[in-house]
Symmetry: C2
Subunit: 216 residues, 2 copies
């Protein structure tokens, strides 16, 4: 089955897609260390995931393993990249160039297909500065930039109290997928996806899970 | 049914627990704005979640709604806090006081039950500094501090290449739940839970989902 067909038919569950990203990290490290072929059990040992699950995940995009020999590392990286990231860069805007925004900018040179096209901030002391190759533009230019560059993904790294307004403006500008680093109650249209990555609420959740396991 | 019984029996699914944290945020905002009672539909409209799901989530810890009148905001906040965070502070250590670590420290004064007991870093220029009330200690004191203070949860905010070593040391020190901000392939013992919050791989995942929806 052709790749675009696999994707259109949504044959890859989201949980598997998340694991594929982890395998890719693992394989890239193996590749750097000069390892050419791997068994699913090698990946399993490094990632803490059962070999059977790994083989199932790989089967979603066709079986590249050779019985007894395992998988070719470079082939596998390419195959996963094709599925997950496509070959183009993933163009993204970042809203908020404060401490958190700058931390993201400084991490973005790591081996990754994500390209921060621009950052936006309302603080004039940050505007027109360039951090790690990413220019900070004034926040009121956000909508125009997103439309002109047809950006579909945005990272929101503004304080909680500003996040709601920013999210609504992003939706109005045509953004279809938002990663908000502040957990804010918000309703977005059905064709827009919002996901949250807020560290402190996540810690509360981890604490809840420990309580459920009677560890705390 | 008593609260501790509910928790021990694991009657609250993790997905519901995550939503409870979001509802709490929403209710706290309503409380600040002087709103005393709410309907599930009010919360639903703000959070983009169906009223029926919200009522189901609330039913996990007993029905506090009064027919036609809705829920008392303050009661609801207390009930959710009891379930999710318990009444004590959640004591956590932070490993890594670089840009990302400092961003976390500066966010930690927001309304939240999480308390960063200490941060650890191997960079001597950061050690003994205090950011936002959180002291940075030398990384080699990490194990002793965790054991003495019986900390069970750690946030890892070190660069990718250092994360693996740090995670293994945390496990050896008795940490049972790790939130790593770097996505690294790692195998931990069964009684330790590790979750990842790495922004760029998450963006790759969002891009993958847009592709599946044929938006990109």
């Amino acid at each position: 089955m052709k790749l675009d067909k696999i994707l259109k038919k949504q044959l890859i569950p989201e949980t598997a897609a998340k694991r594929l990203i982890l395998y890719k990290r693992c394989l890239e490290k193996m590749d750097e260390n000069g390892i050419n072929t791997v068994q699913s059990s090698d990946i399993g040992n490094k990632c803490g995931i059962k070999s059977s699950i790994i083989r199932k995940d790989f089967s979603y995009f066709g079986d590249f393993g050779i019985r007894g020999k395992g998988y070719e590392v470079k082939n596998l990286i390419d195959s996963i990249s094709n599925i997950i990231s496509s070959k183009e860069e993933i163009e993204v805007v970042l809203i908020g160039a404060g401490k958190l925004g700058q931390a993201i900018i400084h991490h973005s040179d790591e081996k990754c297909d994500v390209r921060l096209k621009a950052a936006f901030d309302r603080d004039s002391s940050k505007v027109n500065k360039t951090f790690n190759g990413v220019k900070v533009l004034p926040e009121d230019k956000m909508e125009k930039f997103i439309k002109e560059n047809r950006i579909k993904i945005a990272i929101v790294a503004v304080p909680c109290k500003e996040a709601l307004e920013v999210i609504h403006r992003l939706v109005d500008s045509g953004i279809k997928s938002i990663l908000s680093l502040a957990l804010v109650p918000v309703k977005v249209p059905e064709d827009v996806e919002i996901s949250f990555m807020d560290i402190l609420p996540e810690v509360e959740f981890l604490h809840f899970k420990l309580k459920q396991r009677s560890i705390i």
